[in-house]
């Protein structure tokens, strides 16, 4: 039985906002099948009493003083825009 179906690949690709070409779906299904098959190795371990580690350094709540400091100039930030208009980033129309 396959672990990953082509439906799964399309569904996850949509979540990841990637449009896949037809030939990419089959290839990815095949690759993920093998990779997830290998990753299922983690199920051999009993981790019921283990705390998760999300970060190697245990830091919490790193704050800085709330002071106004110089920041990137508007025109400098906007210079990287793909499209711009009236000093703002321009994107395709979202609402009809």
């Amino acid at each position: 039985m396959s672990i990953i179906t082509d439906h799964d690949v399309r569904y996850v690709a949509a979540l990841a906002r990637i449009h896949l070409k037809e030939e990419e779906v089959g290839q990815l299904q095949n690759d993920l099948e093998k990779i997830i098959g290998y990753i299922n190795k983690l199920k051999e371990l009993d981790v019921s009493a283990v705390e998760p580690t999300s970060h190697a350094l245990s830091l919490e709540n790193v704050f800085r003083p709330d002071e106004v400091k110089p920041s990137l100039a508007h025109d400098k930030a906007l210079a990287i825009a793909i499209e711009q208009r009236d000093g703002a980033f321009k994107v395709p129309k979202v609402i009809e």
């Binding site: 996850v12 793909i82 395709p92």
Partner: protein, 476 residues
């Protein structure tokens, strides 16, 4: 020895004695690039000589992996999606390098977004290993490793998420250091996996590694995950003495699949360090076999989130399909990401999205974070008994170009020895410890406790001073 073949500390001595000039060193390096980079392809872009400023205190030519932002210069992560992107600011490491007077030579090739172990996943062509042009340089920082090995840079900067500095350093016969997580600011490093990524130096010897870490290390208010702990002068840790130190060789690292020449080279390292007074202790890291699986869940989950920002909205490339599929905005996201990302990048984003998605989060992502704890605990326990751990950096020497590119899983498994240091945050270095019968470099990895780079440098320096691998230079 020609100027471009020398180490940075050697060149700094020559500069101090007035025997050369920064411009002369830079010219020598650029000459080497002109002559040989069409074969090696270490660089994506080389900055024009006229733009160089030689007025700083350490005007040493340095190569930068193409995932660190440099003000007004292009940074692409070797991806089509960032083609033409010019950062409006400098990464903190770049700022620190500029303050030291470093001469930025150019940007080096890499696996797209650092996803790979061979630099074959670059969208701008493969980099070749200077020690065997039919071989990969390793990855993902393959361009930086190859540039240093080919004497096309005096030293270089890379980033390491699962071995991306150490494995290419091993394959290319140079010294590659992944500092403790938090030791070097990640501000301006285009993120792959934020809990694992760390920036570090590629150098021709251990002394240069300490010198370059001195320049880039330190707390940064712009990176809240950088550690607010004092940074020592690492050159003081360059002590040729390991008397009384306890060193571990984890038994799980010396099992099936290891290249016998690699195994023999590491056995030789043991003899050298024993002769200098170190004691070897048997240590066990029982969860080693789960490291790759853990890493490919944690790393891809974080990557899928980090790479969500490349969507055609603000910068880089934007694509739109000819006909409407969903709505204009979503169509733009999806088409931009399909056209802009290469196959491995898509694979990792989709794997990461899968493990974070509803119904799989507990089974994969949360479980992997728990196994990460077990792997970290193994190492912490081992460091109760020993001062340092030594292992091969990679189970094999550099493989052939194309040999593993069709099988993602086989490629992932080449990182088995380097991943635990990223999952645990501990510092680790790879340095040359021999050559195979085919003339390919073999890498030794040394790992120490978090924030104990000094112990790392002490063991590495002692080994280096009692061998001569670091004096070898490639003939191109």
């Amino acid at each position: 020895m020609k100027l471009h073949e020398r180490t940075a500390h050697d060149l700094l001595d020559l500069l101090k004695d007035g025997q050369t000039t920064p411009a002369e060193i830079h010219r020598s390096v650029l000459g080497q690039i002109n002559e040989h980079d069409d074969k090696v392809h270490a660089y994506l872009r080389v900055n024009p000589a006229e733009s160089a400023d030689y007025s700083g205190t350490q005007p040493i030519p340095i190569a930068i992996k193409d995932n660190m932002c440099m003000e007004d210069l292009e940074t692409t992560c070797a991806s089509q999606i960032l083609k033409g992107f010019r950062s409006p600011y400098d990464a903190t490491v770049i700022r620190k390098l500029k303050e030291s007077g470093a001469v930025l030579i150019g940007n080096t090739n890499m696996d797209e977004f650092a996803f790979g172990s061979s630099t074959e996943n670059s969208s701008s062509g493969v980099t070749r290993n200077p020690w065997g042009l039919d071989r990969v340089p390793g990855g993902s920082s393959g361009g930086s490793a190859a540039a240093v090995a080919a004497n096309e840079a005096i030293w270089a900067i890379g980033s390491d998420t699962g071995g991306s500095i150490r494995q290419p350093a091993a394959f290319c016969g140079v010294v590659g250091l992944k500092p403790t997580y938090g030791r070097v600011s990640r501000y301006g490093l285009i993120a792959f996996a934020s809990s694992l990524d760390q920036i570090g130096p590629f150098t021709k010897d251990v002394t240069d590694s300490a010198l370059l870490l001195n320049i880039i290390a330190g707390h940064d208010p712009l990176d809240s995950t950088s550690a607010d702990v004092p940074v020592p002068d690492y050159t003081r840790a360059l002590v040729n003495d390991v008397k009384g130190l306890k060193i571990g060789m984890p038994r799980e690292y010396f099992v099936d699949g290891m290249d016998p020449e690699v195994k023999a080279a590491i056995e030789q390292v043991k003899t050298v360090l024993q002769d200098k007074g170190a004691t070897f202790v048997d240590v066990s890291l029982p969860h080693t076999e789960y490291a790759v699986a853990t890493y490919y869940i944690v790393g891809t989950a974080e990557a899928s989130s980090n790479l969500a920002r490349f969507d055609g909205v603000q910068y880089g490339q934007r694509r739109r399909p000819a006909e409407t599929r969903k709505n204009p905005l979503v169509d733009m996201y999806e088409e931009t990401r399909d056209a802009g990302f290469g196959p491995e990048t898509k694979r990792r984003i989709i794997l990461g999205t899968y493990s974070l998605s509803s119904g799989y989060y507990d089974a994969y992502y949360l479980r992997a974070l728990k196994v990460r704890t077990l792997i970290k605990n193994d190492l912490e326990k081992a460091f109760e008994q020993v001062d340092a751990i030594i292992t091969p950096t990679s189970p094999t020497t550099a493989f052939k170009i194309g040999e593993r590119s069709a099988d993602p899983l086989a490629m992932y498994l080449s990182d088995i020895f380097t991943i635990p240091a990223n999952l645990s945050g501990m510092p680790a270095v790879s340095m040359p410890c021999g050559f195979s019968g085919e003339g390919l470099p073999i890498g030794l990895q040394i790992v120490t406790k978090a924030f104990d780079e000094e112990m790392l440098f002490r063991v590495a320096y002692t080994y280096e001073q009692n061998t001569d691998w670091h004096t070898k230079r490639v003939e191109l």
